[in-house]
């Protein structure tokens, strides 16, 4: 845990991102600020693994995190990503269970840790805060349900198109139009639940069809309408 950096203030996160603690009183925000512990975590590090007991939740101030499960024969299934303003680990903390996912840092991150007792203190003291967290959980639940339907019913081609659009929406594009997240082909495969080779073949099909452009791991979406059509999203 590197401490040679300026710790982000909860007020700043609160103002700049759409955080889940926006209903806290100033005094409660101070409480958070005084009790949280922040750290810089380097790319490649594993924050925690499936089965670990975790001592609290993490707020993401900076960076990109990959949240995944390990399925049959060790195959990784990516559940979601977390970035600036997101909170992770609350599921395990709230249910008092070991983590059911692992978390790996994809881009150097700044994370703030709120311990379980501190979280519960705030949840008990401020019911609006609990409602806020409930909203996050319900939002994720809706997304998970959509995802189940997609994986169960759509072809790999449809799912890949859909994921490319989602990644663009979630991470945006840089000034060259490249989507702001660099994933290996294998990681893309582990999101949509397919084999690496299938992703490679489909990406090069999309490229041939002029729908996308590839620059190593970075992808530019050239024809959003075609992608939407392929993905069957309305």
């Amino acid at each position: 845990m590197n401490k040679n950096f300026e710790e982000p203030s909860c007020n700043v996160c609160n103002n700049e991102f759409n955080t889940f603690f926006k209903k806290l009183t100033p005094a409660q925000i101070d409480f958070l600020n005084n009790n949280k512990t922040c750290s810089v975590v380097k790319k490649g590090k594993i924050l925690y693994e499936e089965g670990n007991r975790i001592s609290g939740i993490f707020c993401v101030n900076k960076g990109i995190l990959k949240i995944y499960k390990t399925g049959v024969e060790g195959k990784e299934q990516i559940i979601k990503f977390a970035k600036q303003g997101d909170v992770i680990g609350y599921r395990s903390v709230i249910n008092g269970e070991p983590a059911c996912t692992s978390v790996k840092i994809l881009e150097d991150a700044v994370l703030c840790h709120i311990s379980t007792p501190e979280l519960y203190h705030l949840l008990r003291e401020n019911s609006e805060f609990g409602i806020e967290l409930l909203q996050i959980a319900c939002k994720e639940l809706g997304e998970a349900n959509n995802y189940i339907t997609d994986i169960a019913q759509k072809s790999v081609r449809e799912r890949l198109a859909e994921i490319l659009l989602q990644l663009k929406d979630e991470f945006g594009v840089n000034d060259e139009g490249l989507v702001n997240i660099a994933l290996t082909r294998e990681e893309l495969a582990n999101i949509i639940g397919t084999a690496t080779e299938s992703v490679i073949r489909l990406l090069s099909e999309f490229k041939t069809e002029g729908i996308i452009e590839l620059q190593g791991r970075k992808i530019k979406l050239l024809d959003l309408n075609k992608l939407k059509k392929i993905s069957n999203v309305y």
Copy 2:
């Protein structure tokens, strides 16, 4: 809405099932009792559909409900079932969105309706109640994540075996050893995300292998260990 029946009391549900309102004060339980509206809903009825605005949540006092989404080309994807003690509809109410699932009654049900303002009143007044609902949401979220991994990685055979075990755990068996839920072959297919014919073929395989016994729509699991082995659950 048939009113010729005895309305269940929240106290009774609270004592007999593991409900999410066990942290309410007696006064708050009274508030619920006085404000809820109960109804008998017959098998086959659709309680609400994807896209509907719903005016509150439902507690299940009796019956079995099927919660599903409509995916590509109208194909149904079953997300989960609800029974005695379960609560449904909270995701939409909390997020202030239209329902993202449809609900159909599979077995005659007794349902109690709590309106959105009443729910929020209790959530604001009693933070422990909010935590309780948060726990339910987090539990479902964990199940959804497991399900995503299963559908993405396991074969149809593995998934069918797993679902049979889950249905037994969730609904139990009657005195003849038959699992207490009657689903059509198509519905089984719509849980695991496959074609009806595939389910039929696999069920008859399992039967030939002496793993299960079929009596119309009712299923008896004869060899749990083999099923666990097939399903790859540890």
